[in-house]
C-alpha cells in the first residue's frame, strides 16, 4: 500500500517519475523526493539496523538531525554512510541498507571535486524567513552578501528579489559545515548529486566553498529533538515535525494510524497538520499539563483527543520489530493503542553548532528546554549574530525532566531507551557510566559513545545532557554541553582534497630543458618539487652501467648536466659584502669583481644550513647560488636578517632561480668544448682561472660562464637567461661527444671528491668543523672577533668535543663489496645479536666508483678524523661489510685535475 498522497508535495515534480532501488528492490519516486520520502511513500520502513543489536531502524527525521537512516549508495561512484533524509533521488539511484557501518568502494573515485573562495561583507547562513530578511537588509546597504541554504531552493516569497540582486550570491544545496577563526566559513555545495547520470560531465559534483566574511549572520533555525522511552527506536517512531514535513513537502503520509506525543506547541501544530493530511490520530499526548488553548481547540475541532500530563512508556513491535503498539500513560493510567506511527517531539534545539564552533557560548534556557546562544565569540573584530528561531528554539516548551529524560524507567527497560540509536547506546549505558564513577559529560560521552556517530548528537545530545543531569541529581546547567566541532555534517575526503590529486597534488617544477629530457626518455628523480634527470641510459643499459659510463665520461672526457635547479639569488647594495660576511662562515666582502667563492651558512646553533657559491658581479651586485632544496629558505633567511636585525645595511635580494638556466660542463675536455662554442672567450688556464666568471657569447647566446667544479674536474657552469636554456642545451649537446649525465652521476663525482651534500651528509646536527671544513670559516673574522651567524655556538665545548661525528671516507676492506647508504657503523666483528650493539656513526653516501676502482662511502663517524685506517663494520639490514676509514677525499686529494 503506497502512502503517497494523490496530490501535494511542494518539492515534488510529479511529472517526472523515477525508479530507485534499495537492496535490489525497485521503489518508485518523483524528482524532488529524498530517499527517505521515497521509501516512506512506498511504505518501505526498514532503512538500516543497529550496529551491534541489529534492531530494525527506519526514518526518524527529515534533515540533518536524522540519526537512524544511513545507507550505502552503490550507484555512480558510490558512497558510504549517506543520510537518507538528505539524499535526493534520481533515476537509477541504488542504495543498500547498512548497520551503522559503511564500506569504501574499490578503485579510484573519478568524481570532480571543486573548491571556490568567496569574499563578502555579510554571510547569512540559512535562507528561511529570518535569513532572507537579514540578507536583504545587508544587500540594501550595498555590500556583498552570500546566503547559504541546504535546501534545493529558497521558499521565501522574497527569494527572487534576493537571487537577482547583483551583489548577492545565493548558494542552495549548500551546507555551512565549519565556522573557523576570523570568519573563515567552510560550506559544501551538492551540485549534481541529484542529477544522477544526467549530470553534465564537466560540472564538479561537489564544491567546497571557503567564504571569508566580514560579518556572519546565523539564521540556522532549529533542529527537532525526540522524546525518549523504552523501545523508542522502532521503525514507525518519528519526529512529529518531520512527519508533518513529509506530508507538506513530499506528499507522503508517514503513517496511517498514529499517536502524537509532544512537549511544546509546535508539536501540537504538527499534530493538527497530520490530522488534516489524513492520518488517523488516536490520541495526541502532551507532557505538559497546560497548552495553548487555540491548539487544543484545533485538535478538538478535528475530533482528535488530547491528553495532558501524559507520556509514552513503551512500544511493541511486530515480528519484524516495526512499531505496532504504543503504551501511553495518562492521568487515567496506561492505555495501549494500535498504531503504525508514533510521532514525538521533545522540542526544537536552536541550531547552535556554528555559533559554538566560532567560540560563542551556550546557555541552558528553561524556556526552550535547550541550549541557546549566549555570550558571543570573544573576537569583536568578526561580528557574529543569530536571528530567528536559532535564537530561541521551540515555543511554549516547558521543562519536565522526569518525563523528558526518562527518569523513572527501570534498569531492564533502560537498556532499550536509545540515546544514540546509530551507536546502539542507551540510558542503561549512561547509568553504568555513572555507577563507574564518571561525572563529566565528556567522560560519559566517551564511556557510552553517545553523540559520536554521524549525527554528532544533533538529535539526542540535549536529551543526553538532561538524562545525565537527572542521573547525577544535578541541574542541567552544571552538567553543561559538549563542544561542537567541525564539520557540522560529514565531508568526503575527496572533496577536501579538491584538485590537489595526482599530478596536481603538489606542483611539478621543471627546468627550461625539461622537454629535451622528456624527449630523451630520461628517468626523472623527484628532488623536492623538481623533476630532474636521474641518469641518461642508452638502449638496454642498466642504471648501474649508465652511471659508471657517465662518470667515466666526466673523469676522462667531458659531460654535461642540467644544473638549472640550483637556487640563485642576486644581491644589490653597498653593504652586501658586509651582510654576506655575517651570514656565511667565510669572508665574502674581500671578494674581487670577477671572482667566485665557496660559502657555508650555519644556523644560529652552529649547524650547517646550506652551502653554495658567491660571485661578485660588480661593486654592488652579487650572485649567490644555493642548494636546490634550500633556494627558498636561504632567501627567506637573508631577508629576515636584513629586515629584522640589520635594516641599516643596504642590501636587497631577488631570487633569480628560474631566470637562469644552467648547463654544467665538466671533464678534462670541457675547455675544448667551451672554446669551440665560444670562440671569443679566452679559456686558457691563465685567462680564465678557477673560481672566476666571465660574460661571453656561447653558441651565439648570451651566457655567464663560471669556472666552478662540483666534480673535481675542469668544469664550467654556463648560465643563460632561461628563455634560451633549451637552445644552449642543444648547442652543447651537439658540440660533439659531450655525454649528458644526471643527478646520480653528479652525486658520485662529488662524493669521490668528498664534497658533502647538505641534507644528505648533514642532518642538522653537523657543524662545518665536523665536515672537515674548518677552512671555510674565515680565520680573519675569527681573529678580529667578527661575529657571523652560528659563530657563538661553534665555540661551545659541546661543538668541540673530540668525539663529535666527523665526515670520513670508507672503503670496503675487500675492495669490492658495496656499502649501503644508511648503514650503521659498529666495531669490526661485533656480535650483531648482542643488542644493543654500540654504534659509532652511519653511512651518509655510498656509490660504486669507476675512478677509484672500488665502492666507497662517506660517513659521519664519532671522532672520525682520529680513526683513519681503523676497520669497522658497516651494517645494513643486519649484514656487516668490513670497511676501512679513510680521508673523505678519496679521489684526487691534491686537486690536480681541476685545471684540466
Amino acid at each position: 500500500m503506497s502512502s503517497r498522497l494523490p496530490t501535494g508535495g511542494t518539492r515534488l515534480d510529479r511529472s517526472r517519475p523515477v525508479t530507485i532501488s534499495i537492496d535490489g528492490q525497485d521503489v518508485p519516486a518523483f524528482v524532488g523526493d529524498t530517499l527517505a520520502s521515497a521509501l516512506l511513500g512506498s511504505d518501505v520502513r526498514l532503512v538500516s539496523a543497529g550496529i551491534y543489536s541489529g534492531r530494525p531502524r527506519g526514518v526518524m527525521g527529515v534533515g540533518a538531525e536524522e540519526s537512524n537512516a544511513f545507507v550505502q549508495v552503490t550507484s555512480g561512484p558510490g558512497e558510504p554512510m549517506v543520510r537518507a533524509t538528505e539524499l535526493e533521488v534520481h533515476e537509477g539511484l541504488s542504495v543498500e541498507r547498512i548497520a551503522g557501518r559503511g564500506w569504501l568502494p574499490e578503485g579510484i573515485d573519478h568524481t570532480r571535486y571543486d573548491k571556490v573562495w568567496a569574499h563578502c561583507e555579510v554571510l547569512v547562513v540559512g535562507g528561511g524567513e529570518a535569513g532572507v530578511t537579514a540578507a536583504l537588509e545587508a544587500a540594501a546597504r550595498g555590500v556583498r552578501v552570500v546566503v547559504c541554504d541546504d535546501r534545493p531552493a529558497l521558499t521565501d516569497a522574497r527569494a527572487g528579489e534576493l537571487v537577482s540582486h547583483p551583489d548577492v550570491r545565493v548558494l542552495t544545496r549548500t551546507t555551512v559545515v565549519g565556522a573557523h577563526d576570523h570568519h573563515h566559513l567552510v560550506a559544501v555545495e551538492r551540485r549534481t548529486d541529484h542529477l544522477g547520470d544526467d549530470a553534465p560531465p564537466d560540472v564538479a559534483r561537489r564544491r567546497l566553498w571557503h567564504v571569508k566574511a566580514a560579518e556572519v549572520v546565523l539564521a540556522t533555525g532549529t533542529q527537532e529533538r525526540p522524546l525518549v522511552f523504552p523501545d523508542n527506536d522502532r521503525p514507525g517512531v518519528m519526529l512529529a515535525g518531520a512527519a508533518a514535513t513529509y506530508v507538506r513537502r513530499y506528499g507522503v503520509l508517514p503513517g496511517h494510524r498514529g499517536v502524537v506525543w509532544v512537549a511544546h506547541d509546535d508539536g501540537l501544530a504538527d499534530a493538527v497538520a497530520l490530522a488534516d493530511a489524513g492520518v488517523e490520530l488516536l490520541v495526541v499526548a502532551d507532557v505538559r499539563t497546560t497548552v495553548t488553548p487555540a491548539l487544543a481547540d484545533a485538535l478538538a475541532e478535528r475530533g482528535v483527543p488530547l491528553v495532558l500530563g501524559a507520556e509514552v512508556v513503551g512500544t511493541d513491535g511486530d515480528d519484524d520489530g516495526f512499531l505496532y503498539r504504543v503504551h501511553l500513560r495518562g492521568p487515567d493510567g496506561v492505555v495501549v493503542h494500535d498504531v503504525d506511527l508514533l510521532a514525538v517531539s521533545g522540542g526544537l534545539n536552536p541550531a547552535v553548532q556554528l555559533w559554538s564552533q566560532a567560540g560563542g557560548k551556550l546557555a541552558w534556557s528553561t524556556e526552550a528546554a535547550g541550549f541557546v546562544p549566549a555570550a558571543p565569540p570573544p573576537d569583536a573584530a568578526y561580528p557574529l549574530s543569530v536571528v530567528g528561531s536559532a535564537l530561541t528554539g521551540a515555543t511554549g516548551a516547558v521543562t519536565a525532566p522526569a518525563t523528558f529524560f526518562c527518569g523513572d524507567v527501570d534498569d531492564a527497560d533502560a537498556a532499550r531507551v536509545y540515546l544514540d540509536p546509530q551507536r546502539d547506546a542507551t540510558l542503561a549505558d549512561v547509568r553504568h557510566a555513572h555507577l563507574a564513577g564518571l561525572t563529566s559529560v565528556e567522560h560519559v560521552k566517551r564511556f557510552t559513545t553517545i553523540g559520536t556517530a554521524s549525527d554528532q548528537g544533533r538529535g539526542f545530545g540535549v536529551l543526553t545532557v538532561g538524562v545525565l543531569a537527572q542521573v547525577l541529581g544535578r541541574p542541567v546547567t552544571e552538567v553543561g554541553t559538549t563542544t561542537y566541532r567541525p564539520p557540522y555534517t560529514p565531508l568526503p575526503f575527496g572533496l577536501l582534497a579538491g584538485r590537489d590529486r595526482g599530478a596536481l597534488s603538489d606542483p611539478v617544477r621543471v627546468t627550461a630543458m625539461h622537454d629535451r629530457h622528456l624527449a630523451a626518455g630520461v628517468p626523472l628523480e623527484d628532488v623536492g618539487q623538481w623533476k630532474r634527470p636521474w641518469y641518461f641510459p642508452q638502449r638496454g643499459e642498466s642504471m648501474h652501467d649508465a652511471v659508471l659510463r657517465e662518470c667515466r665520461a666526466v673523469r676522462e672526457d667531458v659531460g654535461m648536466m642540467d644544473a638549472s635547479t640550483l637556487g640563485k639569488i642576486v644581491c644589490h647594495g653597498a653593504d652586501v659584502g658586509e651582510m654576506l660576511d655575517r651570514v656565511y662562515t667565510g669572508l665574502m666582502s674581500s671578494l674581487k669583481v670577477g671572482k667566485v667563492r665557496y660559502g657555508v651558512m650555519c644556523s644560529p646553533d652552529g649547524m650547517v644550513a646550506d652551502d653554495g657559491t658567491v660571485a661578485r658581479l660588480s661593486d654592488d651586485e652579487w650572485l649567490l647560488t644555493t642548494t636546490t632544496g634550500n633556494a627558498a629558505s636561504v632567501l627567506d633567511t637573508l631577508e629576515e636578517w636584513q629586515q629584522t636585525e640589520w635594516p641599516d645595511l643596504d642590501a636587497r635580494f631577488t631570487s633569480v632561480t628560474e631566470q637562469w638556466a644552467v648547463v654544467a660542463l665538466a671533464g678534462p675536455r670541457s675547455r675544448d668544448v667551451l672554446a669551440g662554442l665560444a670562440p671569443d672567450l679566452d679559456v686558457s688556464a691563465e685567462g680564465f682561472a678557477f673560481m672566476e666568471w666571465r660574460d661571453a657569447t656561447v653558441a651565439g647566446l648570451p651566457v655567464r660562464v663560471m669556472r666552478i667544479s662540483f666534480s673535481g674536474e675542469l668544469a664550467y657552469e654556463l648560465h643563460v637567461p632561461a628563455a634560451w636554456g633549451g637552445a644552449l642545451w642543444d648547442a652543447v649537446a651537439s658540440a660533439g661527444g659531450v655525454t649528458p649525465y644526471g643527478t646520480e652521476t653528479m652525486h658520485v663525482l662529488r662524493a669521490e671528491k668528498g664534497y658533502p651534500i647538505v641534507g644528505q651528509d648533514t642532518d642538522g646536527t653537523v657543524t662545518p668543523v665536523d665536515l672537515g671544513m674548518a677552512w671555510a670559516i674565515s680565520p680573519k673574522k675569527v681573529r678580529e672577533g667578527r661575529d657571523f651567524v652560528g659563530a657563538r655556538s661553534l665555540v661551545r665545548d659541546e661543538s668541540n668535543r673530540p668525539d663529535r661525528r666527523h665526515l670520513v671516507g670508507l672503503v670496503p676492506v675487500d675492495g669490492s663489496t658495496a656499502i649501503a647508504e644508511g648503514s650503521q657503523l659498529v666495531d669490526a666483528g661485533a656480535d650483531l645479536a648482542a643488542v644493543p650493539v654500540p654504534m659509532h656513526g652511519h653511512v651518509t653516501s655510498a656509490y660504486a666508483s669507476v675512478a677509484l676502482g672500488t665502492p666507497f662511502a662517506l660517513a659521519l663517524l664519532d671522532g672520525g678524523r682520529d680513526r683513519l685506517g681503523e676497520e669497522l663494520d658497516a651494517v645494513d639490514l643486519r649484514v656487516p661489510v668490513r670497511v676501512r676509514v679513510t680521508e673523505p677525499v678519496p679521489y684526487d686529494p691534491e686537486g690536480e685535475r681541476r685545471d684540466g
Binding site: P377, P604, E640, Q643, R792, S793
Partner: protein, 88 residues
Amino acid sequence: MLTLPCPFCGPRDETEFGYGGEAGVAYPERPADLDDAAWAEYLFLRANPRGWFTERWVHRAGCRQWFTVRRHTVTNEVVPDAAAQEVR
C-alpha cells in the same frame, strides 16, 4: 584559517605567511661576550604565553615584509602591534 593584517597588503590568509615566533628577541650585540647560558637563552628560550602574545610573521607569498602583531593564543584575536606598524 587565520587572517593576518599585512601592513602593506592588508588582511590576508595565513597560508600566505611564514611564522616567526616571538617578536622582540634581538640578536645579541656581541654574542662572543655571552656565556653559554645566556647564549642558550637567545637561541632557545621564547615566551609561550596562554593569552596575548607579540609575534612576528612574514608575508612570504606577498610583499615579503616582516611585521609584528599581537595575537591571543587562545581566542586567536589579532591586533596590529602599534609599536611595529611603521609602514615604510
